[in-house]
Symmetry: C2
Subunit: 425 residues, 2 copies
Amino acid sequence: MIGVVRDVYERYGFEPLETPAFENIDTLLGKYGEEGNKLIFKILRRGEHEGTGDADLALRYDLTVPLARVIAQHQNELPRFFRRYQIQPVWRADRPAKGRFREFYQCDIDAIGSTSPLVEADVLSAVCEVLARLGFADFRLRLNHRQLLTAILRKAGFPDESHPKTLVAVDKLDKIGVDGVVQELGGETSGFGQAARLLLSEFPPGRGEGVLDRAEHFIDGDDGQAAIGNLRTIVQLANGTAAAGKIVPDMSLARGLSYYTGAIMEIAVPDLAGSLGGGGRYDNLVGMFLGRDIPACGFSLGLERIIFVMNERHMFPPDVTRGAVDVMVTIWNEPSRQDALSLASELRRTGLSVEVYPEAHKIGAQLKYAAGRNVPLITIVGEDERARDEVKIKNLRTREEHSVSRADAGARLRGILASNESASH
Amino acid sequence: MIGVVRDVYERYGFEPLETPAFENIDTLLGKYGEEGNKLIFKILRRGEHEGTGDADLALRYDLTVPLARVIAQHQNELPRFFRRYQIQPVWRADRPAKGRFREFYQCDIDAIGSTSPLVEADVLSAVCEVLARLGFADFRLRLNHRQLLTAILRKAGFPDESHPKTLVAVDKLDKIGVDGVVQELGGETSGFGQAARLLLSEFPPGRGEGVLDRAEHFIDGDDGQAAIGNLRTIVQLANGTAAAGKIVPDMSLARGLSYYTGAIMEIAVPDLAGSLGGGGRYDNLVGMFLGRDIPACGFSLGLERIIFVMNERHMFPPDVTRGAVDVMVTIWNEPSRQDALSLASELRRTGLSVEVYPEAHKIGAQLKYAAGRNVPLITIVGEDERARDEVKIKNLRTREEHSVSRADAGARLRGILASNESASH
């Protein structure tokens, strides 16, 4: 799976990058919003300070903030438009749930240095291509814009200082439903609760068609209108790409992370609450390290989430009935152990994967072990074989056995493997 | 490089395993000796307990102890002889030095379930094959045995309770020299310091030949003699493998980790103080989790150390003068952005890696950017090309340009790439 992701990302011109598991704690704190802050794993300061309970390092919470730190630190060595992919684990002190772990892999792409909506379209195309290559056909790309959300919330009566909390509540919509969101915002009797219910009925999630027109009439202010124009351009630009027909503007998409400044997006499939991945534009994050803003846009696919859905849908090819190795070399007796290792070396040189049984147990026990491990072929070199410079080959699939000259053993074993495999198809 | 390591390990019948970055702190504490304990990165307990400075998790310090935990936890699902490889980072709160980092990759193999010296020979063969495949010819495998060390130290006048400290001092021999070791053990005037100097002149490091005979006459006791027999068997068994001729018994090899119980080994190259990797037998470690011992033996290659030496020796092939992508698609003007993305999609479908310039800058600026990025080919679709359904291709290596039909663009670009490459060889 990682091979598919990497192949698509590289074809889109993203370059590989890895960063260390931990960052200075100040690099991470204050970048993810209040909820995110709480979920950061902190590492105790080492040495004499250990007793103070002070933390100076923290495990990365995502791959975006470490990237922003790298960009800020190496800005002079990087091209003006820098595109990188990164496939590494991140850590969150979250309650584990279905397809949710405290350690999980993110597969990120980010394009740094341009505010052009072409970047969003290109990024969306790349992730759509990954999903298509993995066999997904029914996913949707939910698309929204932070500044459009701001305009909508203002118009709906939410003062600016209430927006972060409101977005966090709306972000949980797919898990807790409209009632849950209303509850989180103070309930039916509160002004915010009522505003949220009205808002979500005005802009019901997942409709797509016409939602941008409706938003255009609903909101006031130039920023919101510019955001609508930006989203329309992204949809239009994506029409020639792998993202064509997949994008659904959705005013209920909020995204939890606080660093987004423009378009935000998320991938939804019908059979998973939560998303397979998400991303957006974050034009101010690098500036938090550099003191000078550098525009950026990225997307993160969640590896375990995707695997979870693929498993549920039986999208992986059925297990090939193959053992851990091609051949197990048996041990005839203690004095022949060195020769068994030599034989294994010879066979490995022909490209076979070979395990040597470690003990001089009875051959029957060794065969039983090989069968239990689903190893297809074993070799036996007893006194007779040794005297004739031969190797006895036993095919555990067909139960056939025959002796071959030792020099030919590798080639013969490979031949049997090939015919075993074609027989099983 | 990781590809080579993985390929060899799999050919030896080791199966891949990954474990989480952190373990419960109790899993790691007390397994590495005093020095190791101090270098473990500890993670603050989350939630309301955070204020107490309590740590409940810790970043793995190596891959061996997590493996032992996995073995103990899943013993009923695992085969009797379990062989796994694992290539993942570990973390140590060490002072960074040449080729030494706080986060670094280990490439481990371990064979669980057998006490046979065949296992040591097979493991040594695998790591020798990795190094040979990477181009190393001059490495040596230093071999010693914990119980032989015990017998030697006893005979030299070190009481048992002084052994851990003595081994830690001797382990630093290649970094601090004989004088340094003597100093660490109390100096020339102390009994231990004098014993250490005598011992290291009796068993000078790196001689190999005859050292086992000398040890045999030096020590008393059956355990030590059995250890010598074990080492002789390992050397003999390795004779038919990739480790043949590489093994040097060396009584000054101590290994820092406290969990070893039998043979210990380390890979040395002349131009690096410290080792490229090391390992040994640890028959009691799984038992610390399970309450029942399961024998085991493993080896760990240090990825960054190996890369460091390969870099110093210029063992990597010279940088191929290849850009990050095969093709950069330029943007003629704003209205043609969607078409540029479509063209990129078409070209990527033919297997090319393609970057789209994100802005409608002047073509000259776009060409300059591509040249600076070492991109070999660019495409231009102006009004004329568009009207004729053509794409102009510019070869930035040869400065040649010509227009081709859009349907052929992918194939033509691939053709030029191929001839560019053969021209540069």
